[in-house]
């Protein structure tokens, strides 16, 4: 790791500042947060990006210690950026969101995101989380965790989810059957089981519902 860490969590004023990359498509929030973080003595904002692609490029060029990523960005979202960066740079990622959709925390943790907090936290708290994550710890906001724990459980079986996932672009039953090496009749049975469980009339609606709730 390139981060120079002291053993303690909060270490303001220690040897060298934490280099932070900031990515948020909302310019007002991004610049205000950057200005507030710069007021913290031990944090240096080295890049401000307005979308995911830019964030990936800048992170690969500048090798920051921490990437503070907005979840909702056009193109790549915060978790996807973290997923990409995980393979190329040592930076640790913190994701912020206004509204954590179901399943997103699970996806973020699986992508190796080290911090997750709501946008409503003020800059002082964000700075504290940055310090903590830079020191090697992980931080999941209690509010986000509470939301994730009260997610509705997916009533579908793995096979039924496969059928929806493969068919999410509107593929025909025959295409889904070929992709999953199933008989078309079996696929049709899975689809009618899904429609009954979710009580929606069409496969498209089932796909939308499953995407919205983070089931596929």
């Amino acid at each position: 790791m390139s981060i120079d860490t002291t053993s303690d969590v909060a270490a303001p004023g220690s040897s060298r500042p934490i280099r932070v990359l900031l990515a948020d498509d909302e310019a007002m929030i991004r610049s205000a947060l950057a200005a507030l973080l710069r007021l913290e003595g031990d944090i240096e904002v080295i890049a401000e990006c307005s979308d995911g692609e830019q964030a990936v490029a800048a992170a690969e060029r500048l090798h920051p210690d921490i990437c503070l990523l907005d979840l909702e960005m056009p193109g790549l979202d915060g978790v996807q950026v973290a997923e990409r960066l995980r393979r190329t740079v040592t930076a640790r990622c913190v994701v912020v969101t206004r509204h954590a959709r179901p399943g997103v925390l699970r996806r973020a943790l699986a992508a190796g995101v080290a911090g997750f907090l709501p946008k409503s936290r003020d800059a002082k708290e964000v700075a504290a989380v940055i310090r903590r994550v830079a020191a090697g710890a992980r931080y999941v906001d209690p509010e986000i965790a509470a939301d994730a724990l009260s997610d509705e459980r997916c009533p579908l079986t793995d096979r039924e989810r496969d059928v929806l996932r493969v068919g999410r672009q509107g593929q025909t039953t025959a295409q889904i059957a070929r992709e999953l090496s199933l008989a078309p009749g079996t696929v049709r049975n899975h689809v009618s089981a899904v429609l009954a469980k979710l009580s929606v009339p069409t496969r498209q609606q089932a796909v939308l519902m499953a995407l919205e709730r983070g089931w596929i």
């Binding site: 925390l105 943790l109 003020d122 209690p142 965790a145 994730a148």
Partner: protein
């Protein structure tokens, strides 16, 4: 705030369990309809076979009528299947599942007609199979009347011709089989009509549930509007006051600015409370979510969830699970975790352990110059102290064991707390 009594309405609208129950009832009704239809068809075939046998026709002919009849009844199965799945969906007209059964019906009609010379048997199979297609309502009504009239007419012809000559004239009563045949299409259409009515009712039920959910959402929207309107007004006044005070009394102005930030916080918390008002999941689901999250975080998780876990006191264990899971998630270094909610005789026992010695202090630990920050709000009433209090309130207890490579929290609550406590 709306009374909690409103909650079940929304639950019912969105709960998959409820819709699964009615889906099962709908399926049962469908099979009832199918069995009735197949039995009608079988009765007609058997009655004709008996009639021809009594009339002294060759046994081979009777056997052909019987076997051909069974093949024809089997061929109506795809039509019935298409009828069920094609309801309201025009794309379901598949030539294989439609044309093949119609050809089989025609072939059966032609065969038995050539063997017996009865016109009514030529028309009946195709007439019946056609009723099983998904026709528009007015087409179906006219068709079934026309077919019934045609069958009646043909029967009269048959009685006048085939039944007045040998060998069929030996059979004195052609009317039982005849009446069954004439009425078969009409009975079929009435059964299918009954099924259609049921489907309309089922759709109405679904729409009603959606409507209830929508109305609840509108009510929430109104609440959000009121709440935010109120807070925005307060904040505007506090900021205006700060602006006025700034030139003369900086301290008072600063005080107003801090008050405005607190108002923002209150508004945010209030909005969140409104949005999450109905977000309650059963305890087993919450535990399963916890297990999935910890696994996603790269831990090896062992979870033991009692089969009756949904009867455990959710008002105590819900916050406990949230707090302890969040703690485990926060420790970066953990490799494994164990979750268990079990029933021991007359108490519920929740245990969570992981291989990190002790929880780290909260991220928002005060740092120098922190005087202006709003007070801790997220941890208010939570935390392990809160957990202990909550368990104590219902006569339970909390135990924390911190060993070198193991941190365990155990919460036990008497089982009777489940009955009295709010869910």
């Amino acid at each position: 705030m709306t009374a909690p009594a409103d909650a079940p309405t929304v639950e019912a609208a969105s709960s998959p369990a409820v819709s699964r129950g009615t889906a099962r009832a709908v399926t049962a009704t469908w099979w009832y309809t199918v069995v009735a239809l197949v039995l009608f068809e079988l009765t007609v075939v058997l009655v004709w076979a008996a009639t021809l046998l009594q009339a002294g026709l060759d046994r081979g002919v009777v056997l052909a009528v019987l076997v051909g009849g069974l093949v024809w009844i089997l061929s109506t199965a795809p039509l019935l299947r298409a009828y069920r799945h094609g309801g309201g969906d025009a794309t379901a007209l598949d030539w294989r599942s439609t044309l093949v059964p119609l050809v089989v019906a025609t072939a059966y009609g032609v065969t038995v007609w050539s063997l017996s010379g009865l016109w009514v048997l030529l028309i009946l199979p195709l007439a019946q199979s056609l009723q099983l297609l998904h026709w528009p309502r007015f087409v179906r009504a006219r068709m079934v009347l026309a077919v019934t009239a045609l069958l009646a007419g043909v029967l009269v012809v048959d009685v006048a011709t085939a039944f007045s000559e040998p060998p069929l004239s030996a059979h004195e009563d052609p009317y039982v089989a005849g009446v069954f045949s004439v009425l078969l299409p009409l009975t079929t259409v009435l059964s299918l009509w009954w099924w259609d009515v049921l489907m309309v009712l089922d759709r109405a039920r679904v729409s009603e549930a959606r409507l209830a959910a929508t109305q609840e959402r509108l009510a929430v929207a109104t609440d959000v509007h009121d709440l935010q309107g109120h807070h925005l007004q307060v904040i505007a006044l506090q900021l205006e006051l700060a602006e006025r005070l700034l030139p003369d009394d900086r301290d008072a102005a600063l005080h107003q600015l801090r008050a405005a930030r607190l108002s923002v916080d209150e508004a945010r918390q209030g909005t969140r409370d409104l949005a999450t008002r109905f977000r309650t999941v059963p305890l087993p689901d919450e535990l399963a979510n916890a297990r999935d999250l910890l696994r996603a975080a790269g831990l090896t998780v062992e979870a033991v969830i009692d089969v009756d876990a949904d009867t455990a006191p959710a008002s105590v264990f819900g916050p406990v699970i949230r707090e302890t899971t969040t703690n485990v998630l926060r420790h970066g270094g953990g490799r494994r975790a164990r979750l268990a909610l079990t029933r021991l005789d007359d108490e519920w026992r929740y245990e969570i352990s992981n291989d990190v010695p002790a929880p780290l202090p909260p991220a928002t630990a005060p740092s120098p110059g922190d005087a202006g920050a709003p007070p801790e709000r997220t941890r208010q009433g939570t935390g392990l102290e809160g957990t202990a209090t909550r368990a104590g309130d219902v006569g339970g207890s909390m135990e924390v064991r911190a060993a070198e490579n193991d941190f365990t929290v155990i919460v036990t609550v008497p089982a009777e707390a489940a009955a009295g406590g709010p869910r």
